[in-house]
């Protein structure tokens, strides 16, 4: 097998809290993600999914362990890895359009071209009428869509998405799932995707990583062997699809029970 796109080895993260204690958030995680692979992470709330993405993104330093991206150790953020944060983190002083244009402009794309591409993306996330709004004037779901558009705009090789569709209604979510799959298939991106939706994970992913309750460890990695391109309507009647969902739900149930029993 060729070199993995992302290799995570023995990754551990401890936080020191305000009251001086040390809090183990992630404990000895090992994952490899191949180029062009779509990997979802499922896990109980607070198990360290976001923290894991931050470390792959190069925003937060691991306490121990190593992360390499394309063979090189991660030392900081780079435009090869595009994050979509759980809290959106839009620039409040920029309009929606300017937010989406930001990355392109930083990479030297001309203003006109950046605007055209930003508008196309805004159209995709159903926000073309809100280009001149400021983030504070948007609803939660609208902000989330701007954040997605902002990251997709500058076309990073790797997408690090933290519950990117969490605040969206079912219809919009479905539309965006399809759009994301389209982009992924077209551009051969590598995606690390945190979600709470088991169906979403199965629908989108090549593999699903299930994490234990805090401190986060890997419970199991489930290979999703469903044909691509995937069409929702077809999958819904696919027995394998249903089995995967049941298996993952069971795993999550186990994760919770284990912790309760321990």
């Amino acid at each position: 097998m060729s070199e993995p796109m992302i290799a995570i080895q023995g990754l551990t993260k401890r936080f020191s809290t305000a009251d001086g204690r040390r809090h183990l958030a992630i404990d000895d995680v090992n994952v490899e993600v191949a180029e062009g692979e779509f990997v979802s992470i499922l896990g109980p709330s607070g198990c360290g999914k976001s923290t894991l993405l931050y470390m792959v993104g190069g925003f937060v330093a691991p306490s121990s362990g190593a992360i390499t991206v394309q063979g090189r150790p991660v030392t900081g953020p780079g435009p090869d890895r595009g994050p979509v944060f759980q809290e959106f983190a839009l620039f409040p002083w920029k309009t929606v359009l300017e937010n989406v244009m930001y990355g392109l402009r930083q990479q030297g794309v001309s203003k006109a071209e950046a605007e055209a591409r930003a508008r196309a993306l805004l159209d995709m996330v159903h926000l073309k009428d809100f280009a001149d709004f400021y983030p504070k004037e948007l609803s939660g779901g609208m902000r989330q869509r701007v954040a997605i558009a902002r990251t997709l705009a500058y076309q990073p090789q790797i997408l690090l998405m933290d519950e990117p569709f969490g605040a969206l209604d079912a219809h919009t979510r479905t539309v965006l799932q399809n759009e994301l799959l389209g982009i992924w298939e077209r551009d051969r991106k590598t995606v690390l995707f945190v979600t709470h939706g088991v169906d979403e994970a199965v629908f989108l992913s090549d593999r699903v990583v299930v994490m234990t309750r805090a401190p986060g460890r890997i419970k199991k990695v489930v290979e999703i062997d469903l044909p691509r391109p995937r069409v929702r309507a077809e999958l819904l009647v696919n027995r394998r699809y249903q089995e995967y969902i049941v298996e993952l739900e069971q795993l999550i149930e186990d994760v919770h029970l284990e912790a309760a029993g321990a």
């Binding site: 994050p83 944060f85 409040p92 002083w93 930001y102 990355g103 930083q106 902002r150 990251t151």
Partner: protein, 259 residues
């Protein structure tokens, strides 16, 4: 009532709210003087001062003094702004460990005491007074910038870095805009301090400017003439502040609650 009418009413009430207290203070002052509670040789009635002020306004000699003060004030403030923001940003990023102690030591020293040295270094003209204004006004801006730049929401910076923005670019596209509300508050304070400082410098040693005008009047106990420069500097402060507020409103459209 139509919407525009409601807004007009609102604005009217706003103006009233902002003028009223000032008017009340002036009226009380006037009443105190009229009632003879205070000797006119110490505190003239505002009406008297106002009349003298209006009479002086077209006087080219008076305007010359005003202009001298304005030149010192504005150039001092502008330099303090440029220096304060850039040093503040620098200190908040890499150079914090080295710059912070220096700032801590320099900020609280009374710059007035340096004035004789400034005069000898920069001469008796504008430069020494401008230097004093800069020395006094730079720290509020610097500290506000420093604080604003340090409290940037990290995920905003992360987003920018991940988008491929260089360190330098994030300073201008993330740190600065994010610190802007804080910086502008620092500017407001610095502006008022600049007014005081330029006036003081002119009081201590000068042959023109509003501060000098005051000292000249004070030495010959022309009490009404003493209040004219005070009213003038206060008006200048009000006008410059209004300009600053206008700039602020333009710059901060998107920011949180800053309407």
């Amino acid at each position: 009532m139509s919407a525009s009418n409601i807004f007009a009413g609102e604005r009217l009430r706003g103006t009233a709210a902002s003028v009223l207290p000032l008017a009340v203070i002036l009226l009380a002052w006037e009443a105190v003087c009229r009632a003879g509670l205070v000797a006119p040789t110490l505190l003239p009635a505002p009406s008297v001062v106002l009349l003298r002020w209006i009479a002086l306004l077209p006087d080219p000699d008076f305007l010359h003094h005003v202009a001298q003060t304005m030149i010192r004030l504005l150039s001092g403030f502008a330099i303090a702004l440029a220096a304060g923001v850039s040093i503040g940003l620098l200190a908040s990023r890499g150079g914090g460990g080295l710059l912070e102690p220096v700032i801590r030591v320099l900020a609280p020293i009374p710059k007035i005491a340096l004035y004789p040295a400034f005069v000898l270094i920069f001469g008796f003209d504008h430069a020494s007074k401008i230097a004093l204004v800069v020395a006094d006004a730079v720290f509020p801006i610097l500290l506000a910038t420093f604080h604003g730049a340090r409290s940037v929401e990290p995920k905003l910076l992360w987003s920018a870095w991940a988008a491929g923005a260089s360190r330098r670019a994030t300073i201008f596209t993330v740190v600065l805009p994010s610190a802007l509300p804080s910086i502008l508050t620092g500017c407001k304070i610095a502006l008022l301090i600049s007014c005081v400082t330029v006036f003081l410098a002119e009081m201590i040693s000068s042959t023109d400017g509003l501060g000098h005008l005051l000292i000249r009047s004070a030495r010959s106990f022309r009490i009404v003439d003493m209040f004219v420069p005070l009213v003038t500097i206060s008006t200048i402060g009000l006008l410059l502040n209004a300009a600053l507020v206008a700039v602020r409103n333009r710059l901060l459209v998107g920011h949180g609650n800053h309407r």
